[in-house]
């Protein structure tokens, strides 16, 4: 079932947690809500589930207005950040809860409930643990019980709040793969919250990037990584180098390096910031064709398959990072304190728009390379 969030604003006392958020989640998609802590991800999820009421705006399921519907009637599967399993009930009773609290008319028989629970236990690979209590399970197992409990009532879609937040890396990896598998198998619409960009990129069909109660960008993992809408998205989706300079007549100067851009704006000279991923930094021992700037290696961190270099530009003294494959690093034969030639590729420039009338600064992305 598709979810439509229209212009939602939500405040707590004098703090605005969500500011005019709009969002469309198509049926059957696996969508990630990505953002730093406090950006309003949980709040948005709770509003969709009906655990919280918006100040303004509407929430539609499959085109039908659900804004004023009670949680109970929304038939949403909600998995909480800390699982919220019923601590005094066995795993069986936890999963059966949603079915057993139904009114007598709609409640399945005891036998049906039992079959259903065991089916779900198999689905989440926990058969045999039906009679344990939540406190006797590991974090990853609790997470799967929470999922099975939510699935038991055949929800219209699933909302997962940081499903893998409290688990260690290996279990996370496993559960991610499992969740994607589950999504393919059930074809259910799933919206999940995460503040781990890698998790969002790996799992989601669509990623919604949030910051300070706003949606910054919605797009496929490729889109948000390669065509970030603004500096926030750019910085949030991976490591980034910043170079400060000025733009005039479409030409950006960053120290000795000069870039041609397509920006046509004739308002004299303006400050501009160049953003660049560390893996786009090209390192050579001698200047080849094109523009190179010189830099000194400050520190070398071998990180398994890649090597990260901390560099300092000789022309502007700015610090930046470069990431290269281990193989390329061995070819170069460089060590700390060496001076190298650096080519800056795939920069995105952001110029603060002078015409901005809104109090919030508007950024204009311009793609350019040497």
């Amino acid at each position: 079932m598709s979810i439509e969030v229209v212009n939602i604003t939500k405040s707590y006392k004098n703090f605005t947690a969500l500011k005019e958020v709009s969002l469309h989640i198509p049926e059957g998609e696996l969508v990630a809500l990505l953002g730093p802590s406090g950006s309003g991800k949980t709040t948005l999820l709770r509003l969709i589930a009906g655990l919280e009421q918006p100040d303004t705006g509407a929430i539609l399921f499959h085109g039908e207005d659900n804004t004023n519907r009670d949680v109970r009637e929304r038939q949403v599967g909600f998995v909480f950040q800390h699982y919220a399993l019923f601590r005094h009930m066995t795993i069986f009773d936890n999963i059966a809860f949603g079915l057993s609290v139904r009114s007598r008319k709609t409640r399945p028989s005891k036998q049906e409930i039992k079959e259903r629970v065991h089916l779900l236990l198999r689905l989440v690979q926990l058969d045999g643990l039906a009679h344990r209590y939540p406190s006797q399970l590991s974090g990853g197992q609790r997470q799967r019980v929470a999922l099975a409990r939510a699935l038991a009532v055949e929800p219209k879609f699933l909302l997962l709040d940081e499903p893998f937040g409290a688990l260690d890396t290996k279990v996370r990896q496993e559960l991610r793969r499992w969740l994607r598998h589950l999504h393919e198998k059930l074809g259910l619409t799933i919206l999940f919250v995460t503040h781990d960009q890698e998790e969002a990129m790996e799992l989601a069909d669509q990623v919604v990037v949030m910051n300070e109660g706003r949606v910054e960008q919605v797009g496929s993992p490729e889109e948000i990584y390669h065509l970030p809408a603004n500096p926030f998205v750019y910085s949030f989706l991976g490591r980034v180098n910043l170079f400060r300079g000025r733009i005039r007549d479409g030409k950006v100067r960053l120290g000795e390096a000069e870039f041609e851009t397509e920006w046509e704006h004739n308002s004299g000279e303006l400050p501009a910031v160049g953003y660049m991923r560390p893996h786009d930094v090209e390192i050579a021992l001698a200047p080849g064709d094109g523009h190179f700037v010189q830099a000194r290696i400050q520190h070398i961190s071998p990180l398994g398959p890649i090597v990260r270099l901390d560099l300092r530009r000789l022309d502007t003294d700015e610090l930046f990072e470069a990431e290269l494959s281990h193989q390329r690093f061995s070819e170069l034969h460089v060590e700390e304190k060496s001076t190298v030639f650096v080519k800056l590729n795939n920069l995105s420039f952001y110029v603060e728009s002078p015409a901005a009338t809104t109090p919030r600064p508007t950024f204009l992305p311009i793609q350019a390379s040497f």
């Binding site: 589930a49 009906g50 655990l51 949680v71 109970r72 038939q75 949403v76 599967g77 909600f78 909480f80 800390h82 699982y83 919220a84 399993l85 019923f86 601590r87 005094h88 809860f97 949603g98 609290v101 139904r102 209590y133 939540p134 406190s135 609790r142 409990r149 939510a150 038991a152 009532v153």
Partner: protein
């Protein structure tokens, strides 16, 4: 430890000083019987009353935010803050022969002061905070997550309360009930003011002990006192059983 146990031992020793026969005759006396009956009646009414109120208040305070929450909290603490004697006097002032409500009570032929209703009122007031005070911190620590999970799974408010909230606090609740009951049976000050000490009518066990003592029937006084002491012992035993049980259950139980 010695200071706690010694008085208990003393009570039992005094009670049996003149032999089992005196002890038994004191206990079997009709006035003692009626005191026991009244004490049980008072507890049977006040405890359920305060449990109902305490659970409702703790639930509202811990799981919801509303205006006047602090006022309610203060009201719950009031009986702890006020001396029981003062509490008794307040009821006398309200319902006694000089009281504000007296003319109306008189006209409707309702007796409160120097009668059972007064004792029940005073006891209810004094034991009012026990259950709520016991439950509020437990409920607050548990948060609203499980309740929210229950509602999102389609459970009604009442079913959520019965199947999630209540079972999660059952030991705390039992603990509160035990303390409330012990106090309801043992309360002296407030009850003494409103009861009027009518033998065989408005005497509870603690009042009965005092009367016997004042009449120099020491053996009888101590004999009756053993009943109260036994109650205290049972209370303590149940209390430590509950503590032992909750500790065992909460071992590693942080979901």
């Amino acid at each position: 430890m010695l200071f706690l146990i010694l008085p208990l031992i003393a009570v039992f020793m005094e009670a049996f000083k003149q032999g089992t026969a005196v002890f038994l005759s004191a206990i079997m006396e009709e006035e003692t019987f009626s005191a026991v009956k009244l004490t049980l009646l008072v507890a049977a009414i006040t405890v359920p009353l305060n449990v109902t109120f305490g659970v409702a208040a703790a639930w509202a305070i811990a799981k919801f935010s509303f205006r006047g929450k602090n006022v309610l909290l203060t009201l719950i603490d009031l009986p702890f803050a006020v001396s029981p004697v003062i509490a008794g006097l307040i009821f006398v002032l309200l319902f006694g022969s000089q009281g504000i409500a007296y003319p109306w009570l008189e006209a409707n032929d309702i007796k409160i002061i120097f009668a059972v209703p007064g004792i029940i009122l005073a006891t209810t007031f004094v034991t009012f905070p026990f259950v709520a005070r016991e439950l509020i911190p437990i409920m607050e620590a548990q948060g609203k997550d499980e309740e929210e999970a229950a509602v999102s799974l389609g459970a009604s408010g009442w079913k959520t309360f019965l199947r999630v909230t209540l079972p999660n606090v059952k030991w705390g609740l039992l603990y509160g009930v035990i303390l409330c009951n012990a106090r309801a049976m043992g309360e002296f000050g407030a009850v003494s003011v409103v009861s009027g000490h009518i033998r065989g009518m408005t005497n509870t066990l603690p009042l009965h002990v005092e009367i016997l003592y004042n009449e120099y029937q020491f053996a009888a006084a101590f004999a009756v006192a053993t009943l109260l002491a036994a109650l205290a012992l049972v209370t303590l035993i149940i209390k430590s059983l509950i503590e032992w049980k909750t500790q065992r259950e909460s071992g590693g139980e942080h979901v």
